[in-house]
């Protein structure tokens, strides 16, 4: 995969005058066709919902084309992942607000935890329900899905997309140090969780 010098400067005035040429449209089509399934899987793992994931991916593709379609091809991957991760982050924020209102009206205790650090994905179902042949994949998928969002993002961008620390930091909109921390914690959590599965 070719990613990655991400320019952080843009010119809205320039963007407004750009239009996709046939060549760039074909290149964008190829790029999106290559990335769309992984993006969907990533979003579904984060949200636990195929519908939410579809909306997130669709919107991310639209935003990329609309705002960065005229950019150099080498910039699309990091920009797309940045938009995608931002969309997933927005979903968590909305979910957090919604859950707070629910807690308020139900008068349940609101732990006040940051969902980015604490929320366990609803897709993290009991892997015991998975088919036997799927056991290993289901265990790993459940373990990844159960990671806090930032750890999950760091792990998937590194493992699935093959981004290095700097590129992951750009995609996640945080420092390289934060990426290292999230990634390290993700690895440790996965080790612990998969060890638990293995011992069952």
């Amino acid at each position: 995969m070719a990613h990655l010098e991400l320019s952080t400067r843009t010119s809205p005035a320039g963007l407004a005058t750009r239009r996709l040429t046939l060549d760039s449209k074909q290149a964008l089509d190829r790029f999106l066709a290559d990335v769309e399934r992984r993006a969907f899987l990533m979003a579904r793992m984060a949200t636990g919902s195929a519908e939410e994931a579809m909306d997130i991916v669709q919107d991310s593709m639209l935003q990329l084309v609309r705002h960065y379609g005229g950019r150099d091809e080498s910039e699309w991957a990091p920009l797309f992942h940045r938009i995608l991760q931002r969309r997933i982050y927005d979903w968590y924020r909305r979910t957090r607000v919604r859950n707070r209102w629910r807690h308020w009206f139900r008068r349940d205790d609101d732990a006040g935890d940051d969902p980015l650090e604490q929320q366990v994905d609803p897709a993290a179902a009991d892997p015991a329900d998975a088919l036997a042949a799927e056991r290993t994949f289901a265990d790993l998928e459940a373990a990844i899905a159960a990671l806090p969002l930032r750890q999950q993002q760091a792990f998937l961008l590194r493992a699935w997309e093959g981004l290095d620390t700097e590129q992951t930091a750009r995609a996640m909109g945080c420092s390289e140090g934060s990426v290292k921390t999230h990634y390290s914690r993700a690895l440790q959590a996965l080790r612990e969780r998969l060890k638990d599965y293995d011992e069952r």
């Binding site: 963007l15 407004a16 769309e36 399934r37 899987l41 005229g70 493992a159 080790r191 293995d198």
Partner: protein, 118 residues
Amino acid sequence: MSEPTEKDLREAAVRLLRERERNLDELTVARLRAARRRALEAQPGRRRPGLAAAGGLVAAGLAFGLAGVVWLQTPSELPLPTPVDASGADLDLLVSESPDFYSDLEFYRWLASQTDAG
């Protein structure tokens, strides 16, 4: 059994990804393809008219909010970014939400750097 290494986990994750990609149901694949087609019909820099006005209002609100924060906080309370630090990358996302906000934001960043230098 010993704990899996980083290499083990990454390789297993890639195998999982390939397996899940391969087994995505046809309906999802078709919906992704349709979403891609719709996205490609969009033109760079073109925004929906109804959103333009709303985006302007949101941008103005954000601008005033940011100005308020910068104005009220002392430099020791609010570490301000240098013009070329990593926070510049965040501008891309702001631009994607509201391109018109970019010029205003540039101004407030300049104002903040002037305050910081002062």
